[in-house]
């Protein structure tokens, strides 16, 4: 597949890296010589110098033969225009990063029709949605849904009081069915087998039916607390979106937003209905104490500054907040930050890349979630008639060691499979896979896949 990426910022770089590693033809359009240099040294992509809104540059980049165009520069207007042009050239899929909420307020018609943008991605909104999901499941470090919400994935940390510590996976109680699809242990992603034991500090990734999840968590000794008080540090776009989403979906919740900038604080206080906006410096220990942060069930640090986020999350944790979520733009130090006791670290870049990647998947791969910097994906695959793995028991299929089938959706039913489960054609499979096994796993379920 040929992909054109406009803008080699953080998101653009991530996408270029992900796609070129997957052997796609990637052309990057970038203006800054410094960024060009970085890309040139790090990635196997073609770099075109110029602006993505210029037709001659687009033609030089081979827009006529491109299958997809990602416009992820800093400038909303340029991104939208590039997508518009690309559509006219016949590019099948276009993705634009648009941050200004005013552009997204169109109600009477969709931007997709007018501008030819297939996916509008707003990193702040993606981040806010992710945090809202975490707020709904405070015991989990991460939450995701698949198959139209019927299947749920949660990431849980095993603490000292956990009942399942040092147990083998096959010894666990599975009266309510679930699958542990991955374990993050000491910054490494493992795909567990029945003989593996669970250890203190493991982050387990659990897949179960959405309706069963609470039962499953209970059986494993996790009790969900309800989030009633939430403090959001930073009233920027992410913080504002988050408050807006929470107000809409969880009406009973108490939201406190701390924003340093007076004008901004006033602005969001007028826009939001219930949230309490406090003007002040989030890193001011006294202010946090005065505002009784300790009573918050959830503390979210989403200012533009990584250092402030980190510092305030630490203070909040120290004051005894139930759970801390911290936004970090830098991804290289994420594992370090988890070590110092912040529960969840989110990178807008990784989240955005994951959201875009879902669109890239061709054929029957439906949805994709990325796990951190280390490349691992949750794939939704459709078992095609005639594929190798169809009509066989799971235990008889040689599934690559880096992959595990978490759940199967057959019609309306969700099944958590075990070894004796037989895959039928048209089943939707929710599969966890490390990067090295992704392609091998995909081939198992595609018609005409190679034999092993």
């Amino acid at each position: 597949m040929k992909v054109i990426i406009i803008g080699a910022g953080k998101v653009g770089f991530s996408m270029a890296q992900l796609l070129s590693d997957e052997e796609h033809d990637v052309v990057v359009i970038e203006q800054s010589p410094e960024r060009q240099q970085v890309l040139e040294e790090e990635l196997d992509v073609q770099i075109i110098s110029g602006s993505g809104s210029s037709t001659s540059v687009l033609e030089l980049a081979g827009v006529r033969h491109a299958d997809m165009l990602l416009a992820v520069t800093e400038f909303d207007e340029l991104n939208m225009l590039a997508c518009l042009l690309a559509k006219k050239y016949g590019v099948k899929t276009t993705v634009a990063r648009v941050r200004n909420p005013e552009y997204l307020e169109v109600k009477d018609f969709s931007l997709n029709d007018v501008m030819g943008i297939d996916l509008i991605i707003n990193p702040e909104r993606v981040t806010a949605l992710e945090i809202a999901q975490i707020a709904a499941n405070p015991e989990a470090l991460n939450v995701d849904y698949y198959a139209d919400g019927k299947v749920k994935l949660v990431e849980l940390e095993l603490k000292e009081d956990s009942a399942v510590l040092n147990k083998r996976i096959k010894e666990l109680d599975t009266s309510v069915p679930y699958n542990i699809v991955a374990i993050a242990r000491k910054h490494k992603m493992l795909v567990p087998r029945g003989d593996d034991t669970l250890q203190l500090g493991d982050h387990i990734h659990l897949v179960a039916r959405t309706v069963d999840m609470q039962e499953v968590e209970k059986s494993l000794g996790f009790f969900s607390r309800k989030v009633e008080h939430i403090t959001i540090l930073g009233g920027g776009r992410t913080g504002y979106y988050l408050a807006q989403i929470l107000e809409e979906h969880k009406p009973g919740i108490n939201i406190k937003i701390i924003e340093k900038d007076k004008a901004r604080a006033r602005q969001i206080s007028q826009k939001l209905k219930n949230a309490l906006v406090i003007q002040g410096d989030g890193s001011d220990y006294q202010l946090l104490e005065e505002e009784n942060i300790a009573y918050s069930d959830l503390f979210v640090a989403v200012t533009d500054d990584d250092k402030i986020n980190l510092l305030c999350a630490l203070i909040a944790r120290n004051l005894g907040v139930g759970k801390t979520v911290c936004q970090m733009k830098r991804t290289d130090v994420m594992p370090l930050v988890e070590q110092i006791g912040i529960d969840t670290i989110l990178s807008p870049r990784v989240l955005t890349a994951g959201a875009i990647l879902k669109y890239l998947r061709v054929g029957d791969i439906i949805s994709v979630t990325l796990f951190g910097e280390e490349r691992a994906e949750m794939l939704e695959l459709l078992a095609q008639p005639g594929a190798i793995a169809v009509n066989k028991e799971l235990q008889n299929i040689k599934i690559p060691s880096g992959s595990l089938i978490g759940a199967v959706v057959r019609g309306e039913k969700v099944i958590i499979p075990d070894g004796s489960f037989t895959i039928k054609a048209h089943d939707r499979l929710i599969v966890f896979s490390l990067e090295k096994s992704i392609h091998k796993t995909e081939r198992l379920f595609l018609n005409g896949g190679r034999k092993f």
Partner: protein, 483 residues
């Protein structure tokens, strides 16, 4: 940090490719029932064996890092040239290692300097290997490796660039592997055309093939003692003139011309214009100089000989149809000067490359304009592309280093009691991957008379020239090897 396992594994792959290439020589020696068959077979077997051994002992999937990339390019070329010497050694035709390595490295770097006085007495199997080494080295062993092996990762880009000659290299495809493949394909196609032409003009199958290898790679090894002078047919010489010109042109241009189906691609390229300009000017001066001398030659022959010799040296091929050593001073001087021109960037030619001159010329013009308009903002261009100041410094630095190596090589050779002209021209011919020089190493002589230490020095100069100095120089930087 340099991990030996990563380098050795990839080196194993390079050695394996060389070993497989050796096997092709067997077909010739077997058909002609030559006694060297066994020796070539042993050399190929040993090379393939060691290649496979390295690949299997050092398995793993770690990606090559930046430093390892440079180490792999320079050490890889060194190791390949050593393995390439095995057929000569084993067959006993060049029993001394210094001779065998010199011949091998001269082949791979497409220099074409030889220590063999009587090539016509050599068995075909060995001659074929001698020619084939040039052809492989012409487009590049690393390029071949990148084209063949999947999953070299993003580092392949750097490896490829370290090997491709010239100040700037274009990617004609988003993926470096595709780029390498397209270039190799273009190389193969043009080579095929060259072979068919030579064959049609009356060379026999073997000679046509060997001369194709030597021409397309701008190598210059001939299968005849008198080089191209052996073929008196003007047509063969004109054909070789054309194909040498083609080989000295950027292969990216050939590819784009083919893709766009438009010869304008060449005319629009400023480096190509300078390249042909240098050739035409030098040829004109040589003809002018020859016209007052050697009244024996007719006009067609004079022009043909002049152009042939100028192109042969400019493209760094090194074929000879005349002994330019005995030409009048101006003609001889022109030949000496074009030793420093070279083929275009991205061609199989060596030396300094017209592209580098172009950048310096353009910058000189900018400096002049700035004297008239002190506050003018003038971008530095390479063709239609604006290039950064860094590239200018890189080119100037290259000039300095090139001259330094030339001086060091010359000093070393004079220390071996070789006269100044021979020493200077030998160093220039080897550093520029050209082949023949003047005096003791003139077009009718060879390098056999060099002492062994001289051969080693010249061999290293060839590698320095082929990889364009930096990768080799890095190896001698102590910090390169430290953590």
């Amino acid at each position: 940090m340099i991990r030996p396992a990563v380098i050795l594994r990839n080196m194993g792959r390079m050695i394996l490719i060389i070993g497989i290439a050796m096997l092709t020589c067997l077909s010739w020696s077997m058909v002609y029932h030559e006694v060297v068959t066994m020796a070539i077979f042993q050399a190929a077997g040993l090379t393939i064996g060691i290649g496979l051994l390295l690949m299997f002992v050092y398995t793993g999937t770690e990606n090559i890092n930046y430093k390892e990339g440079f180490a792999l390019v320079s050490l890889g070329w060194l190791v390949v040239s050593i393995f390439g010497a095995f057929p000569y050694l084993f067959a006993g035709y060049l029993p001394s290692f210094a001779d065998a390595w010199f011949e091998s490295v001269s082949g791979f770097t497409t220099t074409g300097s030889s220590v063999v006085a009587d090539v016509e007495a050599w068995p075909r199997g060995l001659l074929f290997w001698r020619s084939l080494t040039q052809w492989l080295g012409g487009m590049g062993i690393i390029a071949l490796l990148v084209a063949i092996i999947a999953g070299m990762g993003s580092r392949a880009n750097q490896l490829f660039k370290a090997e491709v000659p010239g100040p700037v290299s274009d990617k004609i495809s988003p993926r470096i592997r595709e780029t390498a493949r397209k270039l190799w394909k273009a190389y193969l196609l043009v080579s095929l055309a060259c072979f068919l032409t030579l064959f049609a003009l009356g060379m026999d199958l073997f000679d046509a093939l060997c001369h194709t290898f030597a021409t397309m790679a701008t190598g210059g090894f001939s299968t005849k003692n008198n080089s191209i002078a052996f073929y008196s047919s003007p047509w063969i010489q004109w054909a070789l003139i054309f194909f040498m010109l083609v080989a000295g042109t950027n292969f990216t241009l050939h590819y784009l011309t083919f893709k766009r189906r438009s010869l304008l691609t060449y005319i629009k390229d400023s480096e190509f214009k300078l390249y042909t300009g240098i050739i035409l000017t030098a040829s004109f001066l040589v003809v002018l100089s020859l016209s007052t001398h050697g009244a024996l030659m007719g006009w067609e022959e004079k022009i043909r000989t002049a152009i042939f010799q100028v192109i042969s040296i400019t493209t760094t091929t090194g074929y000879a149809t005349a002994d330019y050593d005995r030409w009048p001073p101006l003609a001889a001087m022109m030949i000496f000067m074009v030793m420093f021109a070279g083929g275009c960037a991205g061609s199989t030619g060596g030396s300094m490359k017209p592209g580098r001159y172009l950048i310096i010329i353009n910058h000189s013009l900018i400096e002049l304009k700035k004297m008239l308009h002190p506050r003018a903002v003038l971008p530095l261009r390479f063709g239609s592309k604006v290039v950064s100041e860094n590239l200018l410094f890189n080119v100037l630095q290259f000039f300095f280093l090139y001259m330094t190596f030339l001086a060091l090589g010359t000093i070393f050779l004079t220390a071996l009691d070789i006269d100044i002209l021979s020493s200077l021209s030998a160093a220039a011919a080897c550093l520029g991957n050209i082949g023949p020089g003047f005096g003791l190493v003139g077009p009718t002589r060879n390098f056999a008379s060099m002492p062994d230490s001289g051969k080693y020095i010249l061999g290293i100069l060839m590698l320095v020239g082929r990889l364009e100095i930096y990768p080799i120089l890095l190896l001698f930087l102590p910090t390169f090897w430290k953590e």
